[in-house]
């Protein structure tokens, strides 16, 4: 068992009252290649900046080899960073950029020359010493940035989306190269990316983050095969995610079918998310299928076909090597081992929250007011409001009822299920629109559909 080189303990970061990181706990072993993966705004870059020392956490401990390093300035830390836009020094040539850290440490001239040249050879930039950094291509600048960061032999290298600005082919090459550099130098790498393929192909450990919270930590295989929840499943690779009910251990019901599965220890009749990977679904003749549907589209992807099958409105994504005709009736089949059952991230199918009667026939909740004819409740009476996910409508127009913060977006075949926050209250809604996590969106409420019940002492019996 290798020793932990870095530990984050209950890290909390807030900017302007907004919580960026919420109790992050993470241990990184020596020589490990760890990737922080998540959509933009999930807090992965902030986590990296905490390790580098550019951001001080509001609460929590940063331990480096067991020593608390909160408050230690960046220049005193044994970690170096490869910045997103490389941040090469424009007034220095390639050699001086790489030599920068060694010059500060007053490395003797012979050693400095030797180490810089070794490093330039490692990143394949021999002969470029005297070139100005601005004359280099993106890939070459990237290599200079890596050489500059590792030449000082840091214990740990932090990489902030270093490949994001490169084209696809170069990115693939650099992925391999980075992995080689990590292995030949024996340095711990902490790599930040939003590209799940990059994360899966390079890392020893993947940390999936969303909205300032770690969703899952595991090997790439674990993350892909056993996602911890519907968010991870949706983010890592394509998935079919369906609403289901866990009938009992090893039996789940969804889309009107009961299927055997390998999962257990759920509450009886618990509402769950069922995740099925597109490559785990087989297309079979209709009489052999668990579901039957119509082939809606087929796209050749090089290795496989990406086929969309419509089963009573739900769009199934299927990867297969055999093409099928568009419009054909087909059966879909999968085994118990192909079903991944997950707890819901939002308990309840509907929104239930408390409001107050603020005037005759007028109710207020979450800072929103609406009127209801013949309400007949006294002013000041608390009420329970119940409304379905379809009664919150995403509305980009100016005069919307409220602005909410999107915590998660999960595509569920017929619609996207959004979990959003308004003030301290979580709401669930369904939309056909394509929304982004960690953004604010406007919504309208379907006030006529809201069910109102008096709370506490009943209104006139």
């Amino acid at each position: 068992m290798q020793e932990n080189i870095l530990t984050l303990r209950d890290i909390v970061v807030e900017f302007d009252g907004e919580r960026i990181l919420d109790k992050i706990n993470l241990s990184i072993r020596d020589n490990e290649f760890v990737t922080l993966l998540g959509p933009s705004g999930c807090g992965k870059t902030t986590t990296l900046r905490i390790i580098a020392g550019f951001v001080e956490p509001n609460a929590g401990e940063v331990l480096f080899e067991g020593q608390k390093i909160n408050g230690v300035p960046p220049h005193m830390r044994q970690v170096n960073t490869v910045f997103q836009r490389y941040a090469l020094f424009p007034h220095l040539d390639v050699f001086e950029n790489v030599a920068f850290g060694l010059r500060i440490k007053k490395t003797p001239k012979d050693e400095l020359n030797r180490r810089v040249m070794e490093m330039l050879e490692l990143v394949d930039l021999k002969g470029f010493e005297k070139r100005s950094v601005q004359s280099l291509s993106g890939g070459q600048q990237q290599r200079v940035a890596i050489a500059r960061a590792v030449v000082g032999k840091p214990r740990m290298l932090l990489l902030d989306e270093p490949l994001a600005a490169l084209d696809l082919k170069l990115r693939k090459e650099m992925q391999l190269e980075l992995k080689n550099i990590q292995q030949s130098l024996g340095i711990t790498f902490v790599f930040v990316t939003h590209d799940q393929e990059e994360a899966l192909s390079m890392s020893d450990t993947v940390v999936v983050m969303q909205d300032g919270v770690i969703q899952q930590i595991g090997t790439p295989e674990d993350i892909y095969n056993e996602p911890a929840n519907a968010f991870v499943a949706d983010f890592i690779g394509d998935s079919n995610i369906l609403d289901g009910i866990m009938k009992r251990d090893f039996l789940v019901s969804f889309e009107g079918q009961e299927c055997a599965c390998l999962d257990r220890d759920f509450a009886p009749n618990e509402r769950v998310d069922v995740v099925i990977r597109p490559e785990d679904v087989d297309i079979v003749p209709t009489q052999l299928g668990i579901f039957t549907g119509t082939v809606e589209s087929s796209l050749f992807k090089g290795v496989h076909y990406e086929i969309v099958v419509d089963v009573s409105g739900y769009k199934w994504y299927i990867h297969t090597t055999d093409n099928v005709e568009i419009g054909a009736q087909v059966g879909l089949k999968f085994g118990p081992e192909d079903l991944h059952i997950m707890h819901k991230m939002f308990d309840g199918t509907t929104n239930v929250l408390q409001g107050e009667v603020v005037g005759e026939d007028e109710i207020e909740f979450l800072g929103v007011r609406f009127t209801r004819e013949n309400l007949g409740l006294p002013v000041g009476a608390p009420v329970r409001l119940t409304f379905s996910p379809y009664d919150i409508i995403v509305a980009p127009e100016e005069d919307r009822d409220a602005t909410v913060y999107v915590e998660s977006v999960i595509y569920k075949g017929r619609f996207s299920e959004l979990i959003v926050w308004k003030d301290e209250t979580q709401l669930i809604l369904r939309t056909q629109r394509d929304e982004q996590v960690a953004t604010d969106i406007g919504v309208d409420f379907n006030f006529d559909h809201i069910k109102i019940e008096p709370l506490g002492e009943k209104a006139d019996a």
């Binding site: 960073t81 424009p90 920068f100 500060i104 004359s135």
Partner: protein, 271 residues
């Protein structure tokens, strides 16, 4: 090659307002009132009293430049790292005094520095003074530094805003403490702004007038002397033009030397 036509008005402008006046200065510097060639003007400049004024003016301009640089450099850096809105407000405050008449500002300084002026009154409340403030070299320097500070802040601020914050972070990441960042990143990258700032302060400061008369108790700087020869009681265009010419040459040589520095330092910076 693009058409040169749009440039013609500017050529005309430069001819009328730069070249021709320069030729006039040249003409008057060598031609006396009688229309004959003469070196009288230069001879009068060789007078020890005049040389003393000349050197003192250059010395005061140099001190002013240094004071402005010391105030403006950290100010420009701090401003450039603030929120964009704060930056705008602060720059407005830096520029605001320039919207007021130059003479008005100098008179305001006189009111402040007088023996029973505002500063001495305030000091009096805590039992100090009164001090002799007006009529000192310090008063001249204060007035000049105040007057020319925006010309130093602006060019340095504009290069500072172009220095990417990630460069500063990268240098800290590689082991630079505060002074390392200053020496290895900020100074080299802001150097062009510093050169411009020095030029924009030193040149007008060396030939400034009125300030030293008003704040220095009637003391003259070379600018005042030139003014006197042109609009004083006994005008002598020949002498005034000669002094102007020499002053211009001295400044030109100074700038030339500084530009040499500039090129050396900037080699790595040019794309």
């Amino acid at each position: 090659m693009k058409s040169k036509v749009p440039a013609y008005p500017y050529f005309g402008w430069m001819a009328v307002f730069t070249i021709i006046p320069m030729l006039f200065v040249l003409y008057f510097a060598f031609i006396g009132d009688d229309g004959q060639f003469t070196l009288d003007g230069f001879r009068r400049l060789a007078d020890p009293y005049m040389i003393a004024i000349f050197l003192k003016s250059l010395w005061l301009a140099l001190l002013t430049t240094i004071i402005c640089l010391l105030i403006a450099y950290p100010m420009a850096y701090i401003l450039s790292r603030m929120k964009l809105n704060t930056q705008r407000t602060m720059m407005l405050l830096v520029m605001l005094p320039m919207w007021m008449n130059f003479l008005l500002r100098i008179y305001a300084w006189m009111m402040l520095l007088e023996n029973n002026g505002l500063i001495n009154k305030l000091l009096g409340f805590i039992g100090l003074g009164p001090f002799q403030l007006i009529g000192t070299t310090g008063a001249i320097l204060a007035g000049m530094a105040y007057n020319f500070l925006p010309f130093m802040v602006l060019p340095i601020y504009s290069v500072m805003t172009k220095i990417d914050g990630s460069l500063i972070e990268a240098s800290q990441d590689l082991g630079c403490n505060f002074f390392g960042v200053l020496r290895r990143i900020l100074l080299p990258l802001s150097f062009p702004g510093v050169i411009t700032g020095i030029t924009m302060v030193f040149v007008p400061a060396a030939s400034t007038f009125v300030i030293s008369q008003r704040l220095g108790g009637g003391e003259l700087m070379i600018g005042d002397v030139i003014e006197m020869y042109f609009v004083g009681a006994e005008p002598n265009f020949n002498t005034g033009a000669s002094i102007s010419l020499v002053l211009m040459l001295v400044i030109l040589i100074g700038m030339g030397i500084m530009n040499l520095f500039d090129k050396d330092e900037m080699e790595g910076m040019l794309i």
